[in-house]
Amino acid sequence: MKRGWRGLLADYGVLVALVLLFAINVFTRGESFLQAENLRNLVSQNAYVGIIAVGMTFVIMTAGIDLSVGSMLAFCGAVAVLVLNRQDAGGAAAGTAVLFAVLASMAVGAASGFANGVAIAFGRVAPFIVTLAGLAAFRSLALVLGKGGEIRSQVSEFQDFGFGGVPLPFLTNQAGQPIVLYWSLLIFLGVALLASFLLNRTPFGRYMIAVGANERAARYSAIDTKTIKLWTYTFLGALVGLAAVLNAARMNSVGTGSVGLYYELDAIAAVVIGGTSLRGGKGRIWGTVVGVILLTLIANMMTAYRIDTNWQGLVRGAVILIAVLLQRGSKEND
């Protein structure tokens, strides 16, 4: 086993890249970059994509893929706001209404993921095809619910939930208000911790690695491979539901035609940049988290340096390619 610095770069390159970019920002933007508020935004801006990317890590680790998460997010969000408004109209307290919206969104997400998983694991249709179908179908369902447009929440506390969180002690922004760690940010980190735990410390995690690395050997080793795969899609679905309701709360509405567009690409990009192998069998949650932050940092930089937003896609594309090429470096003798 030759490791050396190339191997290290392949394993921790994404972390090195993040530190480098961070340093560049500190040197060129100094104060304004290091402000607590900016740093908080850096992590929370893409928390929705981050929550999805954590679930996507499991799916990709087992040599699957889910292209339907963006559409699913719109569908779950639409259900969430409809449930919220109905609860409100029925005279429920705001807190209860929000709770129901969260539960409904996660349930619908889990059911959608379950449907994907059944078609993939038991129907034995390629994940790419099943979730491509999902990409079309879930968007359509969202549009039907929203009659082709936006669904607005009637509950103002919903948005408070979106902007609420835990205030940081001692730190304030320029206006003198405390800096709040949003729920979405905390939930993202909590979900990542939970997933990390599942992956590294439970049989489920070990089974995912086995299924991804060699599905036949896993099946011969008394592992119920179909159920493992089904669970990864269901788990991802539930997380999409969670991200959907957080996103809707922030906007206080769901634009059924536009919300979640390209989220599947961002999530997959973060997972891959983070060092999870698309061939399956190898995955790491911390890598995905770093991947999400890295992508956000790049977008953040381009805004700060006033680069035309039209160029952003090109830069992201380049980053994804470079990340994958670097990680492949040490695996040539596989």
């Binding site: 086993m1 439970t202 070990r206 690695i209 036949r216 050997a217 099946r219 011969y220 080793s221």
Partner: protein, 490 residues
């Protein structure tokens, strides 16, 4: 023609020569340096030092920087894993990348004609237009040899050529080697099967730990001599004595089991303390029968009983619950997750007992350590992927994984394939030990001496059916072959 290369690293100062029209056997345990030697000859690897000389009348110093260089000198390798493209035809495979052309277009007629003549030379009974995917492994091997001949190869390197062949196919391969010899082709013959080496080779080079131990002429190279030289010590009897099996109800019983595809109405029973052999040619349905018993192949009809009670085994997981384990023949594909380390592989089938509910890494490591000591698995780092282990050690990890489950019925499919003599003997000892501790064992093997040495009874399969059962004095290699091949004894 002669070749010399003193002082190579995985090889230490080994010199070998290949004369025209000679079959030169290369034997040694796994890791002895056979493969390295052959890779250097085939141009796949450069020696760190040493020289290769080649020529007909006058010898010339040559350098082999790639397969192309080797081919130019007429050195071609027939790989253990055959390198053919399944969807293409035989002719297309033989001429892949060097198709006869005129004005840029492939001359299909010419290609077919040439292929036919080479197929003729190797005695193939299929045509140039057959798809390679439709051929048996033995036939594919003939395609590889035809391809080598079409490249005007004068030195053929055969790496374990018989490991995928039945006895009959092996015999016809030897006949072909004999014909090639007469044409002046020399063959470098690598094999673990010493009986075959003794039969087919004119000279035998024995390697151990990268060093040349001996060069034996035909007649000197007896199996026991080669085995002793390979391991560097005298091997006692390969097989420990069999123990008597007490009368008791069967631990596992299969009644008229079919999958509707490869296995038709096969029955079997095995008692505790008993070792039952399952013989048959490649493709006779032995492995498929075992796969039905452990639920990884669907049971279309028939019945499986454990300790007299009918059981439903629809997956390896259910089989594990009934304490029936299957050590598969194919370590790479179904036996191990090669990307995982030794610990993870050993506990994979029994992981639940280490999860309370979180995986207890400490006791996992401890258990794996115990197996490593008990089965003498040579592993440097328990945390390194099993990919880096030798065949014999991979096999032991695979066995440990199933013993970890404390099975009552253990099915071993080709337990010593690709494994060296020393490890084979250990495996035989282990199987005997497990049986005497009360396990019911089923051993599937293509090596008849193995079945005779280990088993109390042998069932023979042909075309997916059990065609006979032999025990005691009737158990001979001939009797098994007669049943397996389906020919009437004269």
């Amino acid at each position: 023609m002669v070749m010399d290369f003193p002082a190579v690293r995985a090889l230490d100062g080994v010199s070998v020569s290949f004369e025209p029209g000679e079959v030169h056997g290369i034997v040694g345990e796994n890791g002895a340096g056979k493969s390295t030697l052959m890779r250097i000859l085939a141009g796949l690897q450069l020696p760190t030092s040493g020289e290769i000389w080649h020529g007909d009348d006058s010898m010339r110093l040559v350098e082999l920087h790639g397969v192309r260089d080797a081919l130019k000198l007429g050195i071609a390798m027939i790989h253990q894993e055959l390198n053919l493209v399944d969807p293409l035809t035989v002719a297309e495979n033989v001429w892949l990348g060097r198709e006869p052309r005129s004005t840029g277009l492939i001359r299909k007629g010419r290609m077919r004609e040439l292929t036919e003549s080479y197929l003729d030379q190797v005695g193939a009974r299929f045509g140039p237009d057959d798809t390679v995917g439709s051929l048996s492994l033995a036939q594919k091997q003939l395609v590889e040899i035809a391809k080598a001949l079409s490249q005007e190869a004068s030195i053929l390197i055969m790496d374990e050529p018989t490991s995928v062949l039945s006895e009959q196919e092996t015999a016809s391969l030897f006949a072909l080697i004999e014909r090639l010899k007469e044409r002046g082709v020399s063959v470098a013959y690598i094999s673990h099967r010493l009986a075959e080496v003794e039969q087919v080779c004119d000279r035998v080079t024995v390697l151990r730990d990268g060093k040349l131990i001996a060069m034996l002429e035909r007649g000197m190279a007896s199996q026991s001599e080669m085995a002793a030289l390979m391991v560097g010590r005298e091997l006692g009897d390969m097989f420990p004595a069999k123990r008597e099996v007490a009368e008791s109800p069967p631990a596992l019983r299969a009644l008229e089991v079919s999958d509707g595809e490869r296995v038709f109405g096969a029955s079997l029973e095995v008692r505790p303390h008993e070792v039952v052999g399952l013989a048959g040619l490649i493709g006779s349905g032995r492995t498929e029968f075992a796969e039905i018993l452990v639920g990884v192949r669907p049971l279309a009809s028939g019945r499986i009983e454990r300790q007299g009670a009918p059981v439903r085994i629809g997956s390896a997981k259910q089989a594990a619950r009934h304490r029936v384990a299957y050590v598969s023949e194919d370590r790479k594909d179904t036996g191990l997750v090669l990307a995982m380390d030794t610990i993870e592989n050993i506990t994979l089938a029994n992981l639940r007992s280490y999860a309370r509910p979180l995986i207890d890494r400490g006791s996992e490591r401890e258990a794996a350590g115990q197996w490593v000591r008990r089965l003498d698995i040579r592993v440097g780092d328990l945390r390194a992927p099993t990919l880096y282990l030798s065949g014999g050690n991979q096999q032991k990890v695979s066995v440990a994984k199933w013993l970890e489950l404390e099975p009552k019925v253990l099915i071993l499919d080709e337990p010593t394939r690709g494994v060296d003599v020393g490890a084979k003997r250990e495996m035989y000892g282990l199987i005997q030990e497990l049986a005497s501790s009360g396990m019911a064992c089923i051993v599937i093997s293509s090596e008849l001496p193995e079945l005779l040495g280990l088993c109390h009874r042998v069932l023979v399969m042909r075309h997916g059916r059990i065609v006979g059962e032999l025990a005691g004095d009737e158990m001979t290699e001939e009797a098994i072959m007669v049943l397996a091949a389906g020919v009437e004894a004269a």
